[in-house]
């Protein structure tokens, strides 16, 4: 559910030959000259949505993104058996957001849908490349597990500048994460990466940072030696510790911790890390029962220091609904509790945040690098 503005079709989806796509788009803009529609583009947005069957369906999220960031959106969809192979079906449309006053906004966006299957889908990156607007960043929003489309994903890396995934969609979270980190750190792609699951951690990261902003508390960071991270596991679900791993990876990358060993069993992980002074830090990641909607989400983070005692102890936890974060810490004589709201972020909001980040999210990559090390050490 989004609160993005509705869009109206400047031109309804029209099936065209692939070679006629640009011509058809030019016709659309020419026909609107007197209506004053303005074409503005800030990037190319490639969307891989394997389930996208209906070219009429301008998804809320793509529409909302295009409203805020006018672009050419190219939706890549996996066609079913109804489509002969080889071949690519193409549909072209343009949409304009409708303002609160009910007027059509004058900045409109282009939508191209390409449907293919089999090898035509695997190699669709060349067709997509021919449709990209020049001199603009190209962003791929990958709305699928990596498998069974891993080759397509790899091929698309040749033409995109940035890829945004959602690691909650990985069917086998840790294997998916290993495949992904392989591509990020050992692949041929030139682009940068984002993860909506990482964006979901922003409130937790901000809350954790808030706990150590004062000079007094900042001194605790160098003395932390224990981390407990809990994440939700719904009945009947497989454990999905991706968010927990990303959070620990973030903490470790910020504080200069290196993983030494990782022991995993069911939903429990025991990780030993060391800091730059070879001081050991013990981290535990474990699952706690939750309802289905909260499976995989962080539920609490505890940070402690044996050396500094209660004055450095910090706990972050969410209520059952994850609608708020509570942080408790000691500051001198004072025991402070901070509560902040965490709005349930829609996919659209998460994607907007991911798109707002400058070209490379170095912090994410550094955090992921630590996760990669932990995955490789896992026994």
């Amino acid at each position: 559910m989004t609160n993005s503005p509705p869009v109206i079709a400047l031109a309804e989806p029209l099936k065209v030959q692939v070679s006629q796509i640009n011509k058809q788009l030019s016709r659309i803009w020419s026909s609107q000259n007197d209506g004053g529609a303005t074409r503005a583009s800030t990037f190319n947005l490639l969307v891989f949505d394997p389930g996208q069957k209906d070219p009429n369906a301008v998804t809320d999220t793509v529409g909302a993104i295009a409203v805020q960031h006018p672009c050419r959106a190219i939706v890549l969809a996996a066609a079913g058996e109804d489509m002969p192979e080889p071949g690519v079906e193409a549909f072209v449309a343009a949409y304009c957001p409708v303002s609160e006053a009910g007027n059509r906004e004058t900045v409109c966006c282009e939508y191209v849908t390409l449907r293919a299957r089999g090898q035509a889908l695997v190699d669709i990156h060349t067709t997509a490349a021919s449709l990209l607007l020049p001199e603009l960043e190209t962003i791929l929003w990958w709305q699928s597990p990596l498998n069974p489309y891993l080759q397509l994903f790899t091929n698309l890396q040749k033409i995109v500048d940035r890829t945004v995934i959602d690691s909650t969609l990985f069917e086998t979270p840790e294997k998916g994460l290993i495949s992904f980190t392989n591509l990020v750190f050992r692949g041929d792609g030139r682009g940068s990466f984002g993860d909506l699951n990482w964006s979901r951690l922003t409130p937790w990261r901000e809350e954790a940072a808030l706990a150590f902003d004062s000079e007094e508390r900042a001194a605790c960071l160098g003395a932390l030696d224990g981390v407990m991270i809990e994440y939700g596991l719904a009945d009947g679900s497989a454990p999905n510790p991706v968010q927990a791993l990303l959070f620990l990876g973030w903490l470790a990358s910020r504080l200069g911790w290196q993983p030494l060993s990782v022991h995993a069993r069911d939903g429990l992980r025991q990780i030993i890390l060391t800091d730059t002074d070879q001081r050991p830090i013990q981290a535990t990641i474990r699952s706690v029962p939750v309802e289905a909607a909260l499976s995989g989400q962080l539920t609490s983070v505890g940070l402690r220091s044996e050396q500094m005692g209660a004055s450095c102890s910090t706990v972050l936890c969410s209520n059952d609904s994850t609608s708020c974060l509570r942080m408790q810490m000691n500051v001198g004589e004072a025991h402070i509790t901070q509560v902040s709201d965490v709005d349930t972020q829609t996919t659209e909001q998460l994607l907007r945040e991911a798109l707002r980040t400058p070209d490379r999210d170095i912090i994410y990559e550094q955090s992921l690098a630590v996760v990669d090390q932990m995955l490789r050490l896992t026994k």
């Binding site: 993005s4 503005p5 004058t106 902003d213 960071l221 708020c324 001198g332 902040s340």
Partner: protein
């Protein structure tokens, strides 16, 4: 694009987060806490900041006023205000936030109250971990500024640049002499770097948008001068009347003091200033002061090129509205100008000969704020005369509200066998207005104050320079014998005399 101050990151966990630092734990003491401003603006803004994790957990508010409230009664009162005026619904955060709010009953004019306040703040430092950091917010009538500042000094609460700030609401003085006197008094207690004179009209986004547009694009700056620009129009139009501020507005002298001296002068300064060497508080404000010092009200043989008007009965959005003199508690026969327009000249190399027309008014047909730069006509008309007569000058508009954005009017050829021209508006609205709730101006300003960023706050010399510009008009219109007040129907674009203010060949933009 968000411009962040370059500040050392002490907390490694902050790197990469949208706010690279949060304010230090501090106590914000609000004088006049039982008033409207606290309930409607300050506390809702602080609540929204806390909700978004932009304030440290130890942050504490002390409301100082004369009425006998308990902490609980005060918090309950503020809760209602937050429920009504916050950007967000009252949620889980309120209770925790409210625990950091306290009430202090005191007399603004009694030095003993400030001694007791000092002890109370010291006690809160220990309980809340606020480390002696203080901010004092003067949300009172201007007549109380002097006793508050002096008593803070006497009680030893002025602190240092490192740990104490004072925030003063506009109006800062009611003319040049009073502003200078107030500055001297404030600076006898606080250092200038501790003083934050608030002007909420220009939020950070607007200021940043104007400066980014001007100084992050190479193509505009070469045109931004007398060689290419014919004139500039700055408009702030409101549909509202004086509402319940009649006596204050009347006493304060109307639109000249309420809008022209501060808000519109700020817009003029941002438009006309030279590029600062860095986006830092004093560097930016240095350039604003320079351009304000070069600015004067234009005059000709008939006197100052300025018109003041007052609204009569009329209609706004289909509803009848009363004349200014019929508003509650407005003096009968008041000569207060609710509409002001004037031409200003900037006497420097960049702007010599380029008039800046400023206009502002209440009870206008629509609410709009914009800065429009009209370019000069082409130097030579190569097209046949029939076509040439269709050519309109290019206009670049920076829209402040509603729908903050940029618009550029250019001439283009109509699709036709012959040359036929038409004007085209290229319109772009910033992302903030694309269904994303932008923070209230007070949120930004309070956060900047707590962070120690003075960029959006006016400096002493800046305030005085702005007063100096309008003093000729103040002298003219404060004189009861001056009889040049004109009238306009509410819902219209001002008195007809305003159009006569324009020099030959120029006209007010139709908005």
């Amino acid at each position: 694009m968000t411009i962040q101050l370059s500040a050392p990151i002490v907390n490694p966990l902050r790197e990469g987060l949208r706010l690279e630092r949060t304010p230090k734990p501090a106590i914000l003491t609000i004088f006049g806490a039982s008033g409207d401003l606290t309930e409607r603006k300050l506390i809702p803004a602080l609540y929204d900041l806390a909700r978004e994790r932009r304030l440290p957990p130890e942050f504490t508010v002390v409301g100082f006023a004369r009425r006998p409230y308990s902490d609980e009664e005060f918090r309950e009162r503020l809760k209602e205000g937050v429920a009504r005026y916050s950007r967000n619904k009252l949620g889980n955060v309120w209770e925790n936030f409210a625990r950091g709010i306290y009430y202090f009953q005191g007399d603004l004019e009694d030095p003993a109250s400030y001694q007791q306040l000092g002890e109370f703040l010291g006690k809160l430092d220990r309980e809340r971990g606020t480390q002696g950091n203080r901010a004092f917010y003067l949300a009172t009538a201007p007549s109380y500024f002097k006793p508050i500042i002096e008593n803070l000094g006497l009680a030893g609460l002025a602190g240092t640049v490192r740990n104490t700030r004072v925030v003063i609401e506009k109006p800062f003085g009611h003319d040049l002499a009073s502003a200078q006197s107030l500055n001297q008094m404030v600076q006898s207690v606080f250092q200038e770097k501790q003083v934050y004179r608030i002007d909420h009209y220009l939020g950070k986004e607007t200021v940043q948008n104007i400066l980014v547009f001007r100084f992050a694009n190479a193509i505009f700056e070469p045109l931004w001068n007398h060689r290419y620009i014919d004139h500039v129009q700055i408009t702030v139009a409101e549909t509202v009347g004086v509402e319940n501020r009649g006596p204050y507005y009347d006493e304060a002298g109307g639109a000249l003091r309420d809008m022209i001296q501060n808000h519109l002068m700020q817009m003029l300064a941002l438009t006309a200033m030279e590029p600062p060497a860095a986006f830092e508080a004093d560097t930016v404000r240095d350039e604003k002061v320079k351009v304000l010092r070069a600015t004067t009200v234009a005059r000709d043989s008939n006197g100052f090129k300025a018109v003041r008007g007052q609204y009569l009965d009329g209609w706004i959005a289909g509803e009848p509205v009363s004349a200014y003199r019929s508003e509650p508690r407005v003096r009968p026969g008041a000569k207060t100008g609710t509409y002001i327009t004037a031409r200003f000249d900037i006497n420097n190399w960049r702007w010599k000969g380029v008039p800046f027309y400023l206009r502002t008014g209440k009870r206008m047909p629509k609410r709009v704020s914009e800065i429009a730069l009209q370019f000069k006509d082409v130097p030579h008309q190569m097209f046949p005369s029939m076509v040439a007569s269709q050519v309109s000058p290019n206009i670049l508009v920076m829209r402040i509200q509603p729908d903050e954005g940029i618009s550029l009017r250019i001439e283009a050829k109509r699709p036709a066998p012959d040359i036929a021209l038409r004007s085209v508006n290229m319109d772009f609205r910033y992302g903030e207005t694309f269904e994303v709730a932008s923070p209230e101006a007070y949120e930004r300003l309070l956060l900047d104050c707590l962070l120690g960023d003075q960029t959006l706050f006016t400096r002493a010399d800046e305030v005085e320079a702005a007063w100096r510009i309008v003093m000729p008009l103040i002298h003219q219109w404060d004189n009861e014998e001056t009889n040049d007040l004109t009238f306009y129907e509410a819902g219209s674009w001002g008195p007809t005399e305003a159009s006569k203010l324009m020099d030959t060949g120029r006209r007010w933009r139709r908005l």
